[in-house]
């Protein structure tokens, strides 16, 4: 073995290369200070939504890109997260600190995610996607029926006498203003992305990679496939739940705010943005929340055009760039870096001998 070989075991620390750390700091600086300095109130509201929904796309990206599971229940899980945050808020007489509220919301939504993930132990592919879509329909119907808690009694916590159709959780004391709460959201989003990165770089990430390649691969490595599939569903749902809690505090929620069909659109943008990269979740959130506004406000085009555009985008992504738009952006960044001398040109990879792969099966006994 060469003396310079890196024999460190992979972890979040080994994954934190200087390039990644610089990219993280730059993105955080732009999000925390650059964007609030230049955008109007309207666009700040849109950026808040993008930040919150980047958690939703992150959760689905984990399932699709890391484990190979297609779920169509992510948007109702956001609604469930909002419901849990409101219910816990009123249950404890509005005394639970916001970070604790988000933590409880994440745990409760994670448990709901495990329940939704149970069919994944028996189903996969299109069948599992259909079952999760049915679960999404059930959650949405239930929500329309019971509505978001508004301080009423009983299990559902809804009082018809004080119904307004709109509910919200109070923002934390340190971030009551719109820009302050946007920054607070960016910090929570960064923490959630770190949580996801920690999973991916560690034991769960390797188990999920094995599962994504083939279930037999995972089993032959000793992976408890039941545990790690449900773990993925729990983590994905917990992250969506936290997004729900943030949205409940940021803009407030109404019962018709989380339609089931948006889960399909969400899957499309996750594939378009790049399901195999954490940065892809941010690109996907841009497509989901900012792009429609650009289409409407800047170009004057109907928002309904989005479905067609996303459809074409997904088609081209699957055909030409399975790693999504984020990979194109990465390639573009590298190209600019090389051209400007900031990055060294990549060394040509050693190509495995084609002769090995296409070698005739010598002296094999025929069947």
């Amino acid at each position: 073995m060469s003396q310079t070989a890196d024999v460190r075991l992979p972890s979040l620390l080994t994954a934190a290369t200087p390039q990644r750390m610089i990219a993280l700091v730059v993105v955080l600086a732009i999000a925390l200070f650059g964007i609030p300095a230049i955008l109007s109130t309207f666009w700040m509201k849109i950026m808040f939504e993008m930040a919150a929904y980047s958690l939703v796309t992150l959760g689905l990206g984990l399932l699709v890109g890391r484990v190979g599971i297609y779920s169509l229940c992510q948007i109702p899980l956001v609604a469930a997260g909002a419901w849990f945050s409101l219910r816990v808020h009123f249950l404890f007489d509005e005394s639970v600190p916001f970070p604790i509220l988000l933590l409880i919301t994440g745990v409760l939504t994670g448990v709901l995610g495990i329940i939704i993930g149970l069919p994944a132990l028996r189903l996969s592919g299109l069948y599992l996607a259909l079952v999760t879509l049915m679960a999404a329909g059930a959650i949405t119907l239930l929500l329309v029926s019971v509505k978001f808690p508004n301080g009423g009694g009983g299990f559902w916590g809804f009082d018809t006498r004080s119904a307004s159709g709109f509910n919200s959780v109070p923002r934390p004391g340190i971030a009551t203003g719109d820009i302050a709460f946007y920054r607070y959201t960016v910090v929570v989003v960064a923490l959630m992305f770190l949580l996801a990165a920690w999973h991916i770089a560690g034991k769960p990430g390797r188990a999920w990679a094995s599962l994504r390649q083939a279930e037999v691969t995972a089993i032959s490595a000793g992976v408890n496939t039941t545990l790690y599939k449900l773990w993925a569903f729990a983590l994905s749902a917990a992250i969506a739940g936290v997004a729900g809690g943030i949205i409940a505090a940021g803009n407030g929620v109404t019962t018709n705010q989380f339609p089931v069909e948006q889960s399909i659109l969400l899957l499309a943008v996750v594939l378009l943005g790049g399901a195999y990269s954490l940065w892809g979740a941010i690109v996907a959130a841009f497509f989901l929340r900012v792009f429609p506004q650009l289409l409407d406000k800047q170009l004057g085009l109907p928002v309904e055009l989005l479905t067609v555009l996303f459809g074409v985008g997904v088609l081209f992504t699957l055909m030409l760039q399975p790693k999504g738009v984020v990979q194109d952006l990465t390639n573009l960044g590298r190209l600019i870096g090389v051209k400007t001398g900031m990055i060294k040109p990549p060394v040509a990879p050693v190509v495995a001998s084609a002769a090995v792969e296409t070698a005739p099966v010598a002296e094999q006994v025929p069947s």
Partner: protein, 238 residues
């Protein structure tokens, strides 16, 4: 030692393994037979992918069939596949580490154990390379490294030389021969390459239509008339 008794597998009306009885000792044991003889099904039973309708498998005194599949890996079962299954998106190191961390290897010695296993198969310079960037022979060796890492007790190699040229197969044979000495594991090799079987296995069992038709020292078995008939067919009068 592994002892298989009255093992029977049914897929509807098909019986790929029919009342199989076999005892194997520590060392490299060959399991050969024509396609469809039941060799991979036998491996699938040991791994936990297929549930037999009857029979027992006692390995080193433990009832293997009573364990869930992931517990078998912790117990010390390792497996490679006809179509190699090393995870393409992970590095060589991560591939081997995945098996070790899910098979209960001691945390304190993980790095050393992984590096040792990778060096054992001769891929020490490729630790951080993604498996997807490796050639077919190297990917086969990654699977072998996954099989020998930690404390394996029963190593199942399912056609590890399939698709490899002679020189790569010869190198693989040297690695396979050293597995029992390095790990103390009972190794079962399924392969159609008789040169590889002859080179690596002290004992061979022959499976045909779910039955063991011969078992014993390799040279004796390979010259057995029933074995030659099973592989090459029997002359019949037309």
């Amino acid at each position: 030692m592994i002892s298989i008794s009255s093992l029977t597998v049914r897929f509807g009306g098909v019986v790929p393994i029919d009342d199989l009885n076999l005892t194997l000792d520590v060392g490299v044991n060959g399991l050969i037979g024509p396609n469809g003889a039941g060799k991979t099904t036998f491996f699938n039973v040991l791994t936990g992918f297929v549930k037999p309708v009857q029979g027992t498998v006692t390995a080193f005194g433990d009832d293997l069939l009573a364990m869930p599949h992931f517990r078998r890996i912790r117990w010390g079962l390792r497996r490679t596949f006809q179509t190699e299954q090393a995870v393409a998106e992970l590095t060589v190191l991560e591939n081997v580490l995945t098996v070790l961390e899910h098979s209960g290897g001691a945390k304190s010695s993980r790095r050393r154990d992984v590096v040792d296993a990778v060096e054992f198969v001769g891929l020490g310079d490729s630790l951080q390379r993604p498996v997807g960037a490796l050639g077919a022979a190297e990917r086969r060796l990654v699977e072998v490294a996954r099989a020998v890492v930690g404390s394996p007790r029963l190593v199942l190699l399912d056609e590890p030389a399939a698709g490899l040229p002679d020189e790569e197969t010869a190198a693989l044979a040297q690695v396979i021969k050293e597995i029992p000495a390095r790990t103390g594991a009972l190794t079962i090799l399924v392969d159609h390459d008789m040169a590889l079987v002859n080179e690596t296995c002290a004992h061979v069992a022959v499976l045909d239509f779910g039955h063991i038709i011969a078992s014993g020292p390799t040279a004796d078995v390979l010259n057995d008339a029933r074995v030659m008939a099973a592989y090459l067919g029997e002359d019949i009068d037309v």
